[in-house]
Symmetry: C2
Subunit: 477 residues, 2 copies
Amino acid sequence: MVEHGVRQTRITLVMDTIRQRIASRALGPGAKLPSVRSLASSMKLSPATVVEAYDRLAAEGVIFSRPGSGFYVANQALPFTVAEVGPRTDRAVDPFWVSRQSLEAGEDDLKPGCGWLPQSWLPNDSLRRALRKLARAREGTLGDYGSPLGLPPLRQLLSRRMAEKGIEASPDQIMLTESGTQSIDLLCRFLLEPGDTVMVDDPCYFNFHALLRAHRAKIVGVPYTPAGPDVEAFAHILREHWPRLYITNSGIHNPTGAVLSPVIAHKVLKLADQFDLTIVEDDIFADFEHMSAPRLAAFDGFDRVIHIGSFSKTLSASARCGFIIAKPDWIEGLTDLKIATSFGGGRLAAELVFNVMSDGGYRKHLEATRVRLSKAMREVSSKLKNLGVTPWLEPQAGMFLWCQLPEDMDAADIARSALKRKVILAPGNVFSLSQSATGFMRFNVSQMLDARVWDVLEETLKERFAPSVSRPHATAG
Amino acid sequence: MVEHGVRQTRITLVMDTIRQRIASRALGPGAKLPSVRSLASSMKLSPATVVEAYDRLAAEGVIFSRPGSGFYVANQALPFTVAEVGPRTDRAVDPFWVSRQSLEAGEDDLKPGCGWLPQSWLPNDSLRRALRKLARAREGTLGDYGSPLGLPPLRQLLSRRMAEKGIEASPDQIMLTESGTQSIDLLCRFLLEPGDTVMVDDPCYFNFHALLRAHRAKIVGVPYTPAGPDVEAFAHILREHWPRLYITNSGIHNPTGAVLSPVIAHKVLKLADQFDLTIVEDDIFADFEHMSAPRLAAFDGFDRVIHIGSFSKTLSASARCGFIIAKPDWIEGLTDLKIATSFGGGRLAAELVFNVMSDGGYRKHLEATRVRLSKAMREVSSKLKNLGVTPWLEPQAGMFLWCQLPEDMDAADIARSALKRKVILAPGNVFSLSQSATGFMRFNVSQMLDARVWDVLEETLKERFAPSVSRPHATAG
């Protein structure tokens, strides 16, 4: 009886393990299950136990077998998915929708949904000067691997710029990476075990969802208010889910354009201390600020905050360069991980960024960009209001305007319709883990100066407005 | 009794799980264990069970607790390490030893242990021309993200070059990446579940070990012969371990300089079919070949072979650019994964590489480099033999010479001693999972033209030779 009971428990354990991997999206529909042999060995169970568990899951329709090939997750396994893990796979609200459409866009496509400035807004003259300077550089610059931490003068320059924001970081606490995204990716590898829980803002930058899913993390969303995360909900999530990590933007929040208030920053850090939470502060929009908002890294001094940034938004997304600032012993481990996964960094990109940043024209370029963005923000906001599209708040800076569409409209429908007219929009739910932003849209004000954007927007709003007002209301009423 | 038996089984299961993570290096010495709460939740067990398991492991000295912080892997937990998983952590034979020393090397350091050409051997004039051309490029090139698959003309050029090697790959089967290392990293993410087994050659490129450890893979080494992997051992490993992946170099093998024979290529592919094995063919040294060796991708046509490459060795390691060639549906999944983990690729680097490769001087540069390498290979080989250092084989091409040191010498000792004299060597065991290459050393012939390398080599060989012959033999005899 004991033997039998133990065997049953073991079979159930295997079944639960597989169910959980499916629920957490570690195994998606169609994915191949671990072989009987490997799962048996990793769980220290007999192959017979695993075979029995797989057979039962197959009988339940959760998985199916392909003779001679193994077991696969059935498409109908999805009902096991918990609502809180990963956005729905509907392509219009998939986290890859906006990124792939924007990155694959043709010359004629307009991109008010994308997350970067038009090419003509970038410091093209400084970039050209920097490239010509690189063409005269010594051989090592042209052909050699970067050092593990990355170009020393660029790290020194970053250290000084951080000090201007009240963030104290020595150059050897700064590691250069290929991008802001790669920074977060390295940190997830360094800090997470598969199955760990990570908290993000709801709404947040859609690629956080995609990245965390690649890390097999469980994702929990904290509602975002105009002054930062909802502190009550934040505390509740810490108690309920014990997340390992919280990833956020404290400067200009993506997609809302909100700014973290000092009061909330302080409360968040106190809670982080209490629950042993590490915070990744993604600050890639910092250079657009008129006035420096409070930074968690400035309050915390890199005890439990990690600060990341990049140059993709203000300088060039073509030369890939980002950075991580963290406590020295973490930087040591991150360096090994960076070598293991990408060997030396991009020395040429770092040299280019350094050349542009030390070019006298760069600060002027930044100032001009801020003014230009403010002007665009005012104009776009007012034009949107005329269309019945209401900003959630009027951002102090940056390129994003997070807006509510006229009642009953589904932003994904609008986005699909606009895409047919070669306009790429960013529908709300790609940013929302809870899928509660159906009626929201993120607009990039710098990409809305072409009249065709407004024509298409007006057309699609009209088109979608008509049926959705008449039909559901008629049926409901 | 049943309840009690089940509880015991569960506690043992947790203990074994942790022991196995330590053995597989998923948890290294000093690493923090998953929190009680998260492990309990992911294993679907009660926190009390996990607490009991942790307490017992702590009593055994495998882990220790830091009050208020959690449990950590003890340094003395290492006896649990299975010999076949991961090289020993002794810094001299650590997979990071060579990479960090080489990447952190100062101007005066000599690097016969590194894996790249001296700067003066690279096509610096072509690189300068390409940078000047970039300085005149359109704005999109300077500042925009790359498209998800990467620069179309470069992928077309690669497709044509592959055809010259008998490898048929359409441009849309080619995805650009940041480097060869990032290519393998993306593939591991795409194909592996934590705990999957991966086969590598023994010896192999040391960073494969580091990378696979970062992926929590179990690593198994197959002995490498002058004509490819030992087929008997290969078949045995497939039967015993069912590896998911085999990572190898078929052109010029690192570190041995060996070339895969057609007979072994065929046998390896037949076995791969039989055991559902995927093969990653890392071909970053392809451009050094005089005559094209057989490629697994050419035989297999991307059914179960994935081909990767980069431009770091022949063009520039400073501009990061590599590629993956695989079947179309894998490329689709890899593209999403690339966006999630690094967003757009480095467009500027791809443009630079394309400019250099379409520069008339590049083919001539490659031809000259091959001749130069052959000459250096002959000279270095003969000089090493004079020192009693014997090449394992005389490579047909490339920069690597894999050599046996005079009897009884420990390459790690020699490397440590040479490092004090600012010469970075690559001791055999960093390449060997079984740690069976104690008496071997990999030399990069292109980095051995400075007389100081030979002075230091001669000195250290003499220095280490004396005690190691006299002491152990005296005690033993």
